[in-house]
Subunit: 514 residues, 2 copies
Amino acid sequence: MLSRKTQTPRNEIEKLSERLRELSYLGSAISVLQWDQEVNMPKKGADARAKSISLLAGLVHTQFLNIDRDGLLSGLKKKLEDDRLAPREVTIVRETWRSFERARKLPETFVKAMAELTSKAQNVWQEAREENNFAKFAPYLERMVEKKREEAKLVGYEHSPYDALLDDYEPGATSGELERIFTDLKNFLIPFIAKIKKVSKSIRPYALAESVTFPIEKQVVFNTELAEAMGYDLDAGRIDVSTHPFTTGFHPHDVRFTVRYNVHDPFESIFPTLHEGGHALYDQGLPHEEFGTPLSDAVSLGIHESQSRLWENMVGKSLPFWKRWYPKLKKAFPGAFSASLGEFYKIINTVKPTLIRVDADEVTYNLHIIIRFELEKALIEGTIEVRDLPKLWNERYKEYLGIVPKTDREGVLQDVHWGAGYIGYFPTYALGNLYSAQFWNTAKKHIPKLEEKIAKGDLTILRNWLRTHIHTHGKSFSARDLTLRVTGETLNPDYFSAYLKDKYGPLYGIDTRG
Amino acid sequence: MLSRKTQTPRNEIEKLSERLRELSYLGSAISVLQWDQEVNMPKKGADARAKSISLLAGLVHTQFLNIDRDGLLSGLKKKLEDDRLAPREVTIVRETWRSFERARKLPETFVKAMAELTSKAQNVWQEAREENNFAKFAPYLERMVEKKREEAKLVGYEHSPYDALLDDYEPGATSGELERIFTDLKNFLIPFIAKIKKVSKSIRPYALAESVTFPIEKQVVFNTELAEAMGYDLDAGRIDVSTHPFTTGFHPHDVRFTVRYNVHDPFESIFPTLHEGGHALYDQGLPHEEFGTPLSDAVSLGIHESQSRLWENMVGKSLPFWKRWYPKLKKAFPGAFSASLGEFYKIINTVKPTLIRVDADEVTYNLHIIIRFELEKALIEGTIEVRDLPKLWNERYKEYLGIVPKTDREGVLQDVHWGAGYIGYFPTYALGNLYSAQFWNTAKKHIPKLEEKIAKGDLTILRNWLRTHIHTHGKSFSARDLTLRVTGETLNPDYFSAYLKDKYGPLYGIDTRG
């Protein structure tokens, strides 16, 4: 059997890989242009930059559609079906075919119209948010929903058109599965948060004295030390500043992330450093020798997010981590912190329903996602109308989080995703949280005394474990198979609820058995 | 006549312009990648970046060679020959044809071999320079000279193969013309420098106290203020740090330059700010509405250099300029400057033959160029051998500048140009100096009390004059015609010698009539 499976002439796979690599080097160029746009570009450069990016994106799209010009890919696809490929080859062919199929189902006219609508809708969203004027955004969101339904139809789906969209971000996931998971999660979270709320008056809210300032240079030094301690390789990356923190990898040897600084609050850059650093470790850990092929691509957005959330929350909001880093923080900002380590730990783990998703703590966060998922799925399935969104949004916030936005600006208009055409994206944030808890649970089993080691400053032991078990495999396994392989079972949300119970039970002194 | 000349269907020119614009937007992407490489890229990113750049460069080259696929360009070329184009159209067609002709004369195999040799030779040069080992570099330089002769043959030339190379950087210039100009210049400079040397013991050499430091942040503030005062638009550009200062324009709305900082010497960033700022003003002044066409391209490297040298020397090393800026400098660095304005002016205009071109003052600088021109021309014409270069180099330095390098590292190995394949490039530096003096002379005639205005801080009046008379025309005129148009005569090196005499005569108290 083995010999039959490795018979594929090396040069066919090599030929395909070479074509993919070329596309990826061009894709990297686009990413550099986008990174520069967010980090460096002077404002007047925007129009010219948009032209360069859209031209390059068009080139890449055309070249990708042309990848099977001589039947190379279809030939390999046939071999895949006939079970005549070696494992490494299977991944390359299966995943390339997957993207190719999806790409060629979308006609040029559709892609162009979508690009235009996205650009326009995003601008209108920005204005609408500033003016707190949902009515202004509504017609564009309606068009977006229509277009996204069209996309789903073109791509094809079994049960819900939403699945076709979700699949672009989280291959293999279905809305049916998400509904089951999210219902369980909701049923756990809502009463759990209510319990915390009941006792939370005793918890000092997370707030720093306004009079204390945290010089940006010192924050930079602290964050750089932290990123390096995580095992982030600064010879293969850099940390910059942008309005919205993000991570981008041009190649495993050049993976950059950004944060932003607030002189009054160092945690606005420290937690994003842990979060983006987690993303960046994934991208630096992808096998560089396979660059360009699916073997050097992340599994899914959910798995990617699990890496950022694991570092941000399981590590970065844990007591062992701060045993090491709180003294360093106090040293970096003399006089700024008077709380004991225990108090400090409580402060950074304050649970409090908030209107804004990006400000949410790890307990309430998933409810923000579930609301968005329920609404966007209903929009795509046509069971609700865009015009009713603000009302539905506010009702859902009242029901799940017990708070109601006073304005659409801090309600339905807060996120860029829908205007940018990212429908089906939100659930990957929640999946990331669930995966992170499950991976964390396994990591603690695999690495003896992990938390003690973290308390002593050894973070690379965790990076190495993640690298070996997750990063290095690229897209070799689906999210489902990877999770099974790493943790011994497929996605199980109980790990997340158990993690919350174990952590917040003692922290808030609440009974978590119910 | 006019009606006949404007008959060209707008859409033919528009069609060509659109193709050129697309190429330029892709070219801009390459420039962004290169800029990032020098300014930001982490070191491990180098290999991947080289791949992205070479792929994109290949794409641009192929697309450019394909620009006449339907005879659009040849058709317009025919109209150009028949004198049936309007002036704006003439420039676009003439210059595009010029580049097209040159590009298609170089076969793909040649271009690739040259790219490989360049990359290799540059690396070897770097090692050879570090090791002070000319013998290591020599075989690569020999191959480079061979390749460059081949290029000249492919491109074609009338008198000297050197002309074919020179033409790539300074369209229209010939080595015969340069020889005449440089001989005159040499005959003026060598005795002039000798006179200065005789009295120069009385001049305090340019040196800052080692104990004084100039914090980089303060240098940044000073340089930024200076660049803005020159009229450099920071909303359409930015100033960064790189090992070798350079300017790059992605579009007139995004033109960036770099400098480097030395905490012991602010002039290592101030004069480069004036120099690169001058280049940047040119690129920002190109007509953005013509982006992509030759109407939005610089005339030549010589004219480009004239802009940087005019700001660096005629303005930046003048007494009126420092009347305004010396007090600001003293304020920015309290206690660092004790010299009077007059002494300071002498210090920054110290004339002293040096071995290193980039450290040369404006009087001795051209001799460095003349030496390189004479040697590279002889190499290409085959009248000298690569192996004799170090000897010839040292003899020439002795003869022209009265000093001899002790090592090849501070001699023939000091510049990257030859290893990088830039043979025929050096003369444009000297041409820039000559043009700058001639333009400066005209500017002073056109702008009443220009130097008084500069002393009062008005630098934008000069930028505006340069913009109107030079920048805004793109490649509408050749270097020769532009100079004639702006100054009333073609290049006349006497303006440069007159400028030196007028400035250094009084400064050194020497008789300049001889």
